[in-house]
Subunit: 219 residues, 2 copies
DNA sequence: GACTCTATCTCGGTA
DNA sequence: TACCGAGGTAGAGTC
């Protein structure tokens, strides 16, 4: 990784045009070739950047970095204060826990957490406008389309509404109930769900984990 | 700005849990107190971070950074390779050109780009649930609610649908046509728009600029 | 402070 | 490759 502290002017032309007047900044060049220009503030997002893969041209006091789509980042240096390169080696990578995918996985393994007699038909059921997280049947054998979220907000209700709109026209599946499942809900989401005749249910991540472990001990 | 190159283990506990095994990384601390942990690859997004404002506790070989929501980032150093601080000064900031606001501006100045005989009634027409980008009349004098986007996606169709729902109940305005305008559209957005009886139209940014310039030369 | 919407979103998955 | 959806989305603007 190359770290350059320098006074510079930066221009980006691509999906939009952006210009940075002359000032001292950090320019980070990673070993995969991506470049980021950071100011000393403003969270982790750089002011300007160019992802890998790209073509890097060093013209002395100006760098011209172009990607395959023709977008270009140009950095003109007026004063280089520091220029150092470090060997970092490869990174073992980030391990995440507690995202939506895990919640969906746990629910697929324990559909009865959604309601008594619930059985899983399939995960990621494809429709014309995207995949429904879980397709189940309830105790009466009626189909239930389930949308799983970490937090239930308005757009979750709309997403499920869209799916239902299409599923109700699928003769193999209709009629369908809609159910929104999340660890917490915003009041607005509950209100909208009720108006749309969509059920909502709070599930607890740790409880589900417990159920899964209890089940795995049974077999 | 403080730049530390170090072998370290990182843990984040907050909205999710994330763990980084021991490896050499760059830790960037900006003057506003935000912290970012970068690997030597993977675009500009850090592996882990904590935005400002936060409480930074240096316990020697471990940093504990906590924000007001109780989320915590913990960095344990096993070997510090470099630790340097630079004065960057304040940044004049980024100047952008070519975002949605400009597209809306150009269309407001050239409504005929939306269809023959189109005339602008007003921009940012307020409804109970938010502003409609452009309100126009078509050649027949019927009102058209126009939503402007850089890219037309499903969310855009939903947004316009919501507005139309309210506008159709406004006796001064109804009946209203809905039109989605963008530089490009996703297929699913087109499908959903068609189902909702919403028109969609591709416009070209450079063409619009040309129209505007041609018009300004006329007067 | 809460809500809404944009973003050179980024990033990972999948067809 | 393109498309789709999640995100510790972040960040800006509005109310």
């Amino acid at each position: 990784m190359r770290l350059v502290i320098a006074r510079c002017v930066v221009d980006y032309v691509g999906r939009l045009s952006a210009h940075l007047p002359d000032a001292v900044r950090l320019i980070m060049v990673k070993s995969d070739g991506c470049v980021a220009v950071h100011a000393d503030g403003g969270a982790y997002k750089p002011l300007n950047w160019m992802n890998a893969p790209n073509c890097f041209k060093d013209e002395g006091d100006t760098w011209a970095i172009t990607n395959t789509k023709g977008e270009q980042l140009q950095i003109s240096f007026t004063e280089v204060i520091s220029d150092k390169t470090y060997e970092l080696g490869s990174d073992p990578g980030l391990q995440k826990d507690g995202v939506e995918a895990h919640l969906q996985e746990l629910l697929a393994g324990a559909p009865e957490a959604l309601g008594e007699g619930f059985k899983l038909i399939r995960r990621e059921h494809q429709t014309e406008i995207g995949p429904v997280d879980l397709l189940c049947t309830d105790a009466e054998g009626q189909t239930v389309a389930v949308e799983v979220k970490r937090r239930g907000e308005m757009d979750s209700v709309e997403q499920l509404s869209r799916y239902l709109e299409f599923l109700q026209h699928d003769q193999l599946i209709a009629p369908v109930r809609g159910m929104l499942v999340a660890q917490e809900f915003k009041q607005q989401a509950k209100t909208l769900a009720q108006r749309r005749n969509i059920e909502w249910r709070v599930v607890d991540y740790d409880d589900l984990r417990g159920m899964e472990q209890a089940q795995s001990r049974l077999f």
